[in-house]
C-alpha cells in the first residue's frame, strides 16, 4: 500500500441494514491521481460505500482493494481494521477533535517523531492561509477554516486513498465556490486517489474527473461529467441536474413530435410510448418576429440573478406550459408574444416503462 499508486476498488460490493439493501452489487475503480465523484440523493448508499472503504462498516459481500491489496472480503471475512488501511476520511461535519488545536488536529495521524511530516504540517497550514490560527481550538474557527483543517488532517499521513463525504455541504453558498477551487488545487497537488460523495450535481461536475451516478444502491451511469450531462442514460440521470420539463409522446420514424417541435429518438421502435425531458436551458425564448421556433405567450417571469426564469404557454390541445431559463435579465410582461426554440442537445427521450 504505497502512496499514490493503485487507488481504490470495489468489486461486487453489496450491503444491507437489516432488510434494507443500501448498496447493491457495486463495482467501482478509483484510479490514483484522479477524483471520482459519487452523485446521488441522500439515502442512495453513497456514504455507506465510503464507510465500507474506510473499514468503519463491516463488509458483508464483495471485495474492497486498496493499492491492489485486498482490505476487506465478504467471503473470506478478511477485514483490515481502519487504522491499518491507510485511508484518509473527511466527514461531512469535519469531526475535528475539540480538545486539540488546529495544528494538533492536523498532526494527529502522524506516528512518532516524524520531523518531515511535521514540517509539512506547518507548511501546509501556512499554504492554506491558516498560519496565524495554528494554535487555536476548532470552535474558534469559521466553517471554511474548519473544512480546510479537516482536509489537511486527512491528507497529513499521506493516505493511499482519500474519502470525502459531502465536503462542502456545511459551508454557506457564498464561500463554497472559492473553497471548492482551493480544495481541488490541494488535491491535484497531492495526487491522491480521491473518492468524493455529494448530492449536489454542480459540485460533482466541478470536482470530478469521473462521475458515477447512484440510485437505490446501484451505480446507474459512470463517465466523464460532460458525458453524464449530455448523454444521460435514463430519465433519472437527466433529472438530477435540476428541474426539467416532462412531456409524453410516441416515437415515430426515429423522432418524437412535441409542442416545441420534433426531438430525435434514435433507436426507439415506432409506436413506443416515450417520455421527453427538456431542460429549461434547452429552450430559447425569441422575439415574436423571429423566423424559427414555436409561437408562445409568456406567463410568469422572475429574475434569478445571472439568468431569468420564464414560464411560457404554448397553445394547442391540450395547451402546454413549459419552463425556460434565459441568460441575463429578461422580464417580459405577462402575455407577451414570443417564440420558443428547442436545443435538441438538451432534450432527451426515454421509453416509458
Amino acid at each position: 500500500m504505497h502512496g499514490t499508486t493503485g487507488g481504490l476498488a470495489f468489486e461486487g460490493v453489496s450491503h444491507a441494514f437489516g432488510p434494507k439493501v443500501v448498496v447493491d452489487d457495486v463495482t467501482i475503480a478509483v484510479p490514483a491521481g484522479a477524483l471520482t465523484c459519487l452523485l446521488g440523493p441522500s439515502g442512495c448508499g453513497k456514504t455507506t460505500l465510503l464507510r465500507l472503504a474506510a473499514g468503519l462498516e463491516p463488509l458483508r459481500q464483495g471485495r474492497i482493494l486498496i493499492g491492489g491489496a485486498v482490505v476487506a472480503d465478504g467471503a473470506t471475512r478478511v477485514a483490515v481494521p481502519p487504522e491499518r488501511r491507510n485511508v484518509g476520511l473527511m466527514f461531512q461535519d469535519y469531526a475535528l477533535f475539540p480538545h486539540l488545536t488546529l495544528r494538533q488536529n492536523v498532526a494527529f495521524g502522524l506516528a512518532g517523531r516524524n520531523d518531515d511530516r511535521r514540517a509539512w504540517v506547518d507548511e501546509a497550514i501556512r499554504r492554506i492561509g491558516l498560519d496565524g490560527l495554528a494554535d487555536k481550538y476548532p470552535h474558534t474557527l469559521s466553517g471554511g477554516q474548519q473544512q480546510r483543517a479537516a482536509l489537511l488532517r486527512a491528507l497529513a499521513p499521506q493516505p493511499g486513498v482519500l474519502l470525502l463525504d459531502e465536503p462542502f455541504s456545511g459551508l454557506d453558498v457564498t464561500r463554497r465556490a472559492q473553497i471548492r477551487e482551493d480544495t481541488l488545487a490541494l488535491l491535484r497537488d497531492s495526487g491522491v486517489a480521491t473518492l468524493m460523495v455529494t448530492h449536489d450535481p454542480e459540485e460533482a461536475m466541478f470536482m470530478a474527473d469521473r462521475l458515477m451516478v447512484m440510485d437505490g444502491g446501484r451505480v446507474v451511469q459512470a463517465g466523464p461529467p460532460e458525458e453524464i450531462y449530455f448523454k444521460p442514460a435514463s430519465a433519472y440521470v437527466a433529472g438530477l441536474f435540476g428541474k426539467v420539463n416532462r412531456l409524453t409522446g410516441t416515437a415515430r420514424d426515429g423522432r418524437v413530435d412535441t409542442a416545441v417541435g420534433p426531438v430525435p429518438a434514435r433507436g426507439i421502435g415506432d409506436g413506443t410510448a416515450v417520455e421527453v425531458l427538456i431542460r429549461p436551458e434547452g429552450l430559447a425564448v425569441l422575439p415574436a418576429e423571429a423566423v424559427h421556433g414555436t409561437p408562445a405567450r409568456t406567463r410568469f417571469a422572475r429574475l434569478l440573478g445571472r439568468s431569468s426564469h420564464v414560464h411560457v404557454a404554448i397553445a394547442g390541445d391540450p395547451p402546454v406550459e413549459m419552463e425556460a431559463r434565459v441568460r441575463d435579465v429578461y422580464l417580459p410582461a405577462d402575455g407577451t408574444e414570443v417564440r420558443v426554440e428547442l436545443d435538441p442537445r438538451q432534450a432527451f427521450v426515454f421509453p416509458l416503462a
Binding site: 474506510a54 473499514g55 468503519l56 481494521p81 481502519p82 487504522e83 491499518r84 488501511r85 491507510n86 485511508v87 484518509g88 476520511l89 466527514f91 461531512q92 461535519d93 469535519y94 469531526a95 475535528l96 477533535f97 475539540p98 480538545h99 494527529f108 495521524g109 506516528a111 481550538y137 476548532p138 470552535h139 474558534t140 474548519q146 488532517r153 486527512a154 499521513p157
Partner: protein, 536 residues
Amino acid sequence: MLVAALAAAPVAAIAVLALSPSDGIWHHLATTVLPGYVVTSLTLMVGVGLGTAFGGVATAWLVTMYRFPGRRVFEWALLLPLAVPAYVNAYVFTDFLEYAGPLQTALRDVFGWTNRQDYWFPEIRSAGGAIAMMTLVLYPYVYLLARAAFLSQPACVLEVSRTLGKGPWASFFRVALPLARPAIAVGVSLVLMEVLNDFGTVDFFAVNTFTAGIYDVWMNMNSTAGAAQLALVLLLFVVALVLIERHSRRDQRFHQTTTRYKALPTQPLGPAAGALAMVFCALPIALGFVFPAAVLGRYALQHYQVTLEGDFLLHAWHSLALAGTSALVAVAVGLFLAYGARLGGAATRAGVRVASLGYAVPGAVLAVGVIVPMAALDNSVDGFMRATFGIPTGLLLSGTVVAVGYGYLVRFLALSYGAGESGLARVTPAMDGAARTLGATPLGVLRRVHLPMLRGSLLTGGILVFVDCMKELPMTVILRPFNFETLATFVHQYASDELLEECALGALAIVAVGVLPVVFLSRSLRGLRPGGEEAS
C-alpha cells in the same frame, strides 16, 4: 437576596467564629490532631477519587461502546449503589467481615484456626476499608457523568481517529477520554465532596478525618471555636475542589464541534471478553447494592418484630416529616431563586450562586455554622424577653427541628434550585411572548405555560432533596434535639453498638427510598442522545 443571605449565613458564621480570638485551642489542635486529619482526609480523597474514576469510567465505556449479555440491565443497574449510603454499606460489610462475622468464622472452621494469631485477614475498620466502602457506593457519580459524556460524543470523531491510524485503545485514550475529561472531573469532585461530607463511615471505622474531628472537638472537647476552626480548614478543601470543578467545566463549551449525531455503533464482544465485561460490571452492583440489600433484608425479616416494638415507627415518622417538609420548602425556595436569577440583574444572580453553594459544604461544617448564629439569636431573644417582660424564652430555635430543617435547606437548596433552573431554561422568552399575544395574563402564563412545563423538574428536585434528607447523617446528629431520632441516626446509633440486626429495617428503608432517584436518573439518561434509538 435575603434568601441568599440566609443560605450563606452558616458559612459566614464559621469564618467569624474561627477567626475570632478563642481559648487557644487552635494551637493545640494544629500541633496535635490537625496533621492527622489532613493526612487521613487526603488519603481517603485520593483513594476514593482514583477508585471511582477508574470504576466509573471503565463501566461507562463498556456499556456505552460494547454489546455483551446484560448490557441493557447494567446501564441502569450500575446506578443502584447510589441508593446505599456509605455508612450503611460499612455496617453491613463490617458485620460480615469482622472477626466474629460469618466469613472469618467460616474460614476458621474450614482451616481449623482458633484465634487471630493463626491467620491474616484485612482489617475492615481501617482507612483502606473506608476507601473501599465509599468507592463502592460513590462510583455511580462518575459513571453517570462519564456515560453522559460518552453518549454525547459524536461517533465520527472516534471513527476519524481510527482512519488516522489509531487503534481502538489509542483512540480511547487520545480522543474519547480527553473529550470526557471535564465530565469525569465533575463526577470525581462530586465524589470527593461526598467523601469530605461522610461522617457515618469514618466515625464507625474510627478513621479520623475532618468531619469526624469536628464532631469529636464539638461533642467531646466541648469547643465550638475549635470545631469552627476545623470546619474552616475543611471548607478550604471544598473551595479548592469547587474551583477545580468550575475550571474543568469552563472547557466544556468547546467540547462540541459538530451538531450532527449518528447512532453510536456498539461493537459485539466475543464470549470471553463478554463474560469478563459482565463480571466487571456486575461486581460493583453486587458489592455496592445487592449484597448490602440482601443482608439487610434478611436481618429485617428476622428481627422486624423487635424493631417495630421499639420506636421505629416514630423514627420513620420523624424522617418522613422532616424530609418531606424540607423538600417542599427547598423546592419553593429553589424555584423562587430560579425566577430571581431569570428576572433579576447580575447582583441577584451572584447572590443565587452563593445560595446554591451549600451543597458543596460538608454537613458537619454546616451544622456548626447553623448552630452558632441560632444560639446567638436565641440568647439575644431570651435576654430581650427576660429584660422586657421578665419571661425567659430559653432556646427557641437551636436544638429544635427547625435547626435541622434549616440545615437541610441550606445544604440541599442547590438540588432544588438546579431543578427549577433547568426547568425554567426550557421556557423560552419567546413562549412567554407567544402566550401573552394569545391573550394570556402574566398570571395566566405562569399557570398555563410555566407550571405544566416545570412540573417534572420540580418533582425531580423535590425527590432528590427528600432522599438526601433521609440519608443525611452528620448534620442530623449534631443539630437534632435531645432524644430526637430519625431513621439515619437510629441506624447509626444501633450499628455503632453492633446491633445491626435490629436496625436493619431502618437501613433498608433508607436504601429503598434511595432507589427512587435512581429510577429518575436512568430515565433522564436514556433521553440524552439526540440521535434517538441506538443501532441494534
